[in-house]
Amino acid sequence: MAERILDIEGLVKVYGTVRANDGITLHVNRGEIVALLGENGAGKSTLVKQIFGLVIPDSGTISINGSVAKIKDPTDAIARGVGMVHQHFQLVPVMTVAENVVLGNEPLKGLRLDLSSARELVRTISERHGLEVDPDAIIEDLPVGTQQRVEIIKALSRKVELLILDEPTAVLTPQETDELLAVMKELAAAGTAIVFITHKLREVLAVADRVYVLRRGKTVGEVKASETDAAGLAQLMVGRTVVLQVDKEDPKVGAEVLKVTDLEVMDDRHLKAVNGFNLTVNAGEIVGVAGVEGNGQRELVEAIAGMRRPVKGAIALGGVDITLANPYQTHAAGLGHIPEDREKHGLVSDYSIADNLVLNRFDEPEFRNGPVRDTAAINANADNWIKTFDIRTPSGDLPASSLSGGNKQKVVVAREMSIEPRLLLAAQPTRGVDVGSIEFIHRRIVEARDRGAAVLLVSAELDEILGLADRIAVIHSGKVVKEMPAEGADRTYIGELMAGGH
C-alpha cells in the first residue's frame, strides 16, 4: 500500500447558507497526482484553501503524513510541506522573480536581505526542473506562462511534499500546458504528491492517477483516470450527459463585416503589441484567433471595441470606419463585446444583475423615460434574459457578485447577445467556466453566427477554437502568421505556429 500523505475526513465549510464543502473525504498518496473536478462553485478551491490554511474548516479533519494537522495559516501549511499554486497568481507584480520566490522565507546576511543567494536558489531550482526563468526579471514584464513557472519554483523552493495546483492551466498555451504536465509527472515520479484542479478533461486524463469529482460540496465520485474517459467525467461532474463536441452546421458566409487593415496598437507600457495585423470577418462565420497569450490579442480586441486607440491602420465595421471610435460608438455600430476579464470590464459586481444586463445599454431609449431610468423596462429585460439564459439566481435584484463564475459569464453573454450584434467579439468567452456553462455559451455563439452575425473568437483554448471556429487565424507577435480553414486544421501544426515556428 502506497504511503498516505494527505487524509481528509468529513471536511465541512459553510459560507452563510452555502455549504461550500459538505463532508468531503479524500486522500492522496505520495508520488500520486490527484485531479479535482467539478462545476464552478462545486467547492474545489474552498477545499484546497483549507489544506493550505487560507480558510479554516468548520469541522472535519485534515491529516498530513498520518497526523491530524490544525492548519491555521499558510505558514503552518508551508511548515508541513504543503505548497500551493493559486488560481490567481500570488506574485507581487512590481518585484523580481527572486524576491517573489523568497518572500516569506528570506535569506539574510545580517540585517540585509541576501538577494544573491535568492537568485542562486531560483537558478538551482529552475535548472533542476527545466523551468527556465531570469531571477532578476520583474514579474509584470513576464508572460503568464513564465509567471506560472515562477509560482511553481516558489512552491518548490519550500521543499514541498504535497503540491496543490488550482487551475494552473487556465491561462497556458497548449505547449506550456504540456510542459507543465511534464513537470508534474517528473515531480510525482520523484515522490511529490500533487492535487490538481482543472476544468479541462484532456489534462486530467493525460496526467492524473486518480480523479475526485465534487458537486455541491460533496465528493460524488472517485475514479482511476485509466478507467474512465472524458464523457464519463463530464457526466459525473454535471450529473447528466454533456455534449462536448460543438454541434454546428456549415456556415452561410455573407458580406464582409469586419475589416482590419495594417493595425498597430500599443500596450499599457507603450510597447507595440499589435503590429501590422490584417484580418476580415464575414457575416455568418466564426473566425478564431489562436495564439499564445500576450501576442497582442488583448490589445487587438480592445482596439476593435474602441477601448484602445490604434496608432496606425484602420478598422472598418460594415464598411464604416471605426478606427478611432470609442466604445460607445462601436457599440452603437452593432458590436457586441464579451470582454476577456469579466470581473474587471464586464460587470459592476455591486450592481444588480438587472443593471448589469443593461450595463452598456443603460441610455438606450428603451430603458429610459427622458432623463430618468425606466426601471420597469430594465427589470422586464432582466426577467427575460435570466429565463432565456438560465442564469441561476433567485432574483435579478441580487448583486452580480452573488453569482458563480459561469453565471456571471452568462450575464455578460446575454447582454451582448441582447443587442443582436452584427459583430460579436468574444474574448476568452469560457475561461474558468465549467463544462455545463461552456456548452451553453458555445451554443449561443453558434446561434449568433447562424443568425448572420460575424464572430471574432479570441481564445487561448486551442480546443475551443478548433471546435467553434470556421476559419482560424494564428496570431504571433501582433500579426497574423497564418490563416486556414478550421476544417481539418492540425493541432500540432497550429501549436507550432503559435509558438512562432515555421
Binding site: 506574485l91 512590481v94 517573489n100 518572500l103 528570506e106 540585517l111
Partner: protein, 338 residues
C-alpha cells in the same frame, strides 16, 4: 560599498556635486560673504521648514507602502505637538515631553490602524475622523500660560557639521532634527534592503501574495502604521518643542496634507520625499527672501503661491509615471481574491 555607489549613482554624484559646489563657493567668496550667508540661511530655513514635512511624509510612505492610506497625519501631528508641549510643561522635562509626543503619535497610529485594519473602515474616512478628533481635543483642552521648562538642546555632529554651508544646516540641530536624517537614511535602507522592507512592499502591492507566502498581512499593517505614528509624533514634537516653544491651536496648519503631496511628489520613495520636502522648504524660504529683499515687484501673495502652482505643474507633467502601491487603501480580507 561599490555596490551601493553603483545602485545609487544619481544620489552619489548629486551629493558630490553639491558638496563640491559648497566648498568652492566658500573658498571663492569667503565664509563671511553675503552670498554664503544668504545661501546658508535660506537652506537652514528650508530644512527647518522641511523637517516636520519629511517626517510626516515618511508616515505616509510607510502607511501606503503597507497598503494603508493615512490622511490623518495632520491630526497625529497636532495631537503630538499638543501632548508633547503640555507634558513637558507639566513634568518639567522636555525629554519626557518629546517622549509623550512620540507616544501620542504612536497611539493615534494604532487607533488608525485599528479602524482601518481591524475594523476595515474606509481609510480616508478614518483619517478624516482622526483629524477632527485631534482638532476637537487639542482646542478644547488647551490651557494658557504654560511654558517649556527649558529649550531642547542643540547638538553638533562632529566633523560633518564642519562642512561648509551644508554642515551647519543639516548636522547641527535638536535631537529630532538630527534624528530625521537618520530616519530618512534608515528607512531607505530598511525599505529596500531588509526583510521588513520586502514584506512591507509586498503587503502594500499584493497582500494576498504575501498572505499565501505565510506573512501575517494585517498584523504587519497594524504594526507598521502604529510605528509610523512615532514619526508623526516626532513631527508634532519638533513643531511645539524644537522649532518653537509653545503650542498653538491648529498649529499643524495643513502640514499633514502638504506631506501627502510630498509623498506623491517623492513617488513613495523616502529619499525622494526628503528632497521634495526640502524643495518646498526652499520655495518658502525664497518667498520670504524675495519679500525681504524687495527684489521683484510682484505681489507677495503670488510669490507665496509659487510652491503650490509648481507642485500642480510638476504633477501634471510627471503624472502617470508615478504609481502608488497597488493595494494602498484596500483593506485585506483573508481568503478573498486568492
Amino acid at each position: 560599498m561599490t555596490d551601493f555607489i553603483r545602485n545609487n549613482r544619481v544620489a552619489v554624484i548629486g551629493a558630490a556635486v553639491v558638496l563640491l559646489a559648497c566648498i568652492v563657493l566658500t573658498l571663492v567668496a569667503g565664509t563671511d560673504s553675503d552670498i554664503v550667508r544668504k545661501t546658508t540661511s535660506i537652506l537652514r530655513f528650508a530644512w527647518t521648514f522641511a523637517i516636520p514635512l519629511v517626517l510626516a511624509a515618511l508616515v505616509g510612505v510607510i502607511g501606503e507602502r503597507s497598503g494603508v492610506v493615512n490622511i490623518g497625519i495632520e491630526g497625529q501631528i497636532l495631537a503630538s505637538a499638543f501632548a508633547g508641549f503640555f507634558v513637558a510643561a507639566a513634568s518639567g522635562s522636555v525629554w519626557i515631553g518629546i517622549l509623550a509626543g512620540l507616544l501620542t503619535g504612536m497611539v493615534m497610529g494604532a487607533f488608525l490602524a485599528w479602524l482601518c485594519v481591524r475594523l476595515r473602515m474606509d481609510q480616508i474616512i478614518a483619517g478624516v475622523v482622526l483629524n477632527i478628533v485631534a482638532t476637537g481635543i487639542t482646542s478644547f483642552y488647551y490651557v494658557q500660560g504654560k511654558s517649556l521648562p527649558s529649550g531642547v538642546p542643540v547638538w553638533e555632529v562632529p566633523l560633518l557639521s564642519k562642512i561648509p554651508i551644508i554642515g551647519p544646516v543639516f548636522f547641527r540641530g535638536g535631537p529630532i532634527a538630527l534624528g530625521t536624517l537618520v530616519v530618512v537614511v534608515g528607512l531607505v535602507f530598511a525599505l529596500f534592503h531588509t526583510r521588513w522592507g520586502l514584506r512591507t512592499r509586498a503587503i502594500g502591492e499584493y497582500p494576498t501574495a504575501a498572505d499565501t507566502a505565510g506573512i501575517n498581512v494585517n498584523l504587519m499593517r497594524f504594526v507598521n502604521v502604529t510605528m509610523a505614528g512615532l514619526l508623526a509624533g516626532a513631527a508634532g514634537a519638533v513643531l511645539s518643542m524644537e522649532q518653537s516653544s509653545t503650542f498653538e491651536r491648529g498649529m499643524s496648519a495643513g502640514k499633514g496634507f502638504l506631506a501627502l503631496a510630498i509623498m506623491i511628489f517623492g513617488a513613495w520613495f523616502p529619499g525622494r520625499a526628503f528632497f521634495a520636502a526640502l524643495f518646498f522648504g526652499l520655495m518658502s524660504g525664497l518667498a520670504s527672501q524675495l519679500q525681504a529683499d524687495k527684489v521683484v515687484n510682484i505681489p507677495q501673495q503670488f510669490i507665496n503661491l509659487l510652491p503650490f502652482v509648481l507642485t500642480l505643474i510638476i504633477l501634471s507633467v510627471a503624472a502617470g509615471r508615478v504609481r502608488p502601491p497597488a493595494a494602498s487603501g484596500q483593506p485585506f480580507v483573508k481568503g478573498e481574491g486568492s
